[in-house]
């Protein structure tokens, strides 16, 4: 099997940390994160609900990457819709800070992203994860997963 074919087959693990207010009621009631079909889709989602995106601290995301996940996506509310006023702004700044740290150690900042939109529907959430997977697929495996040099 060619490298390209192997790469396309690889199932990327995408962790989605979402603010409880950033997704719609339908999404809350459904297991939307189980929808992507593994090899068929090329990625899987591990979704974790947060009381507010501002609860996502820098070490949380770094430890997820250290554990080998391929990418982390934060789902936060738009700036003026944050129930805690500046929570989603803080989340965005932390994501930018982490992206800077990753660059300093030679990791692609694309491994962490943030989406700020209110009441996102299941298909929108899956698309965000799919886009993140597409962004990191060319990077190859997270070196922490394989134990090899990137």
């Amino acid at each position: 099997m060619s490298n390209r074919a192997e790469e396309a087959k690889r199932v990327l693990e995408i962790v989605v940390l979402y603010c409880q207010h950033g997704i719609c009621e339908d999404a809350k009631a459904s297991a939307w994160f189980q929808a992507p079909g593994g090899e068929a889709e090329g990625f899987s989602i591990r979704a974790v609900m947060m009381p507010c995106s501002s609860k996502i601290e820098v070490p949380y995301i770094l430890k997820l990457l250290e554990s080998g996940v391929d990418a982390v996506e934060v789902i936060a509310c738009p700036e003026k819709s944050c129930k805690l006023l500046t929570g989603s702004l803080r989340a965005e700044k932390r994501v930018e800070y982490i992206r800077g740290l990753l660059e300093k150690i030679g990791y692609s900042p694309e491994r962490v992203g943030i989406s700020r939109k209110l009441s996102q529907k299941p298909d929108e959430l899956i698309k965000i994860a799919r886009d993140r997977a597409a962004a990191v697929r060319p990077l190859g495996d997270n070196p922490m997963k394989t134990g090899e040099q990137q």
């Binding site: 070490p59 770094l62 990457l65 250290e66 740290l101 300093k104 150690i105 990791y107 070196p143 134990g147």
Partner: protein
């Protein structure tokens, strides 16, 4: 607070490469306040270093601890068991904490993870500014509560110099107030401008670093 900033990650990675197991130690006082060396920073730097080292082909176990104070022997002692189990220590406390660990746990290699650079106040979230130079001969009583040693680029005792900008900022940095401009303004506000007419003589620097290593003895406190 004592202010410190992380050393470049590359520099830390180079220092840790020869070891198999390292203890990363933070301090929950000043360096925690300036977001460089508290528990949160320990838990941020540890995975970052593991990832950086792994990427370069070095699998190093990094264990962590954060002391309430790294500059007090009673707290330092709490690390004795952990230090015995590692090859080296990386401290992200100020230089005082680093030296305390190096002295207590000699000959264990102890490396600084931060550069200690100033005595600051947190003006607002994410903004720290120098307030004290530990000069050993405080003049705040004569300068209306503003320190010209720490806050004037030239540490002038008789200011301002000719470089104050029209907007009252320092010629060295347009984001920094000319401290002598503020001193003069406050003197006017209090109707005491004539107090600044007196020329201040050269400071006695012997009570600061210029007098050699600091050593203070208080017999009333000694055992």
């Amino acid at each position: 607070m004592i202010f410190a900033e992380w050393k470049p990650i590359d520099e830390l990675v180079e220092k840790l490469k020869p070891y198999k197991k390292v203890l990363l130690v933070g301090c929950a006082t000043c360096v925690a306040e300036c977001s460089a060396g508290g528990e949160k920073e320990v838990e941020t730097l540890a995975p970052l270093l593991r990832m950086a080292l792994q990427k370069q082909g070095h699998t190093i176990e990094i264990v962590t601890a954060t002391l309430d104070k790294q500059c007090e022997w009673e707290f330092v002692e709490q690390l004795a068991e952990q230090v015995g189990e590692v090859d080296a220590v990386l401290s992200i406390a100020c230089g005082i904490g680093v030296q305390a660990l190096a002295e207590r746990f000699d000959p264990k290699p102890v490396y600084p993870g931060v550069n200690t650079s100033a005595l600051t106040i947190r003006e607002e979230a994410g903004l720290w500014a120098g307030r004290c130079a530990a000069c050993g001969d405080c003049v705040l009583g004569e300068t209306f509560g503003y320190c010209p040693i720490a806050r004037c680029a030239k540490s002038l005792l008789n200011g301002p110099c000719g470089g104050t900008r029209k907007n009252g900022k320092c010629e060295v940095n347009e984001d920094v107030d000319c401290i002598w401009n503020l001193i003069v303004e406050r003197a006017y506000e209090r109707g005491q401008i004539e107090a600044l007419a007196e020329v201040k003589s050269a400071k006695d620097w012997s009570n600061s670093g210029h007098g050699g290593p600091k050593r203070v003895i208080r017999e009333d406190l000694r055992q």
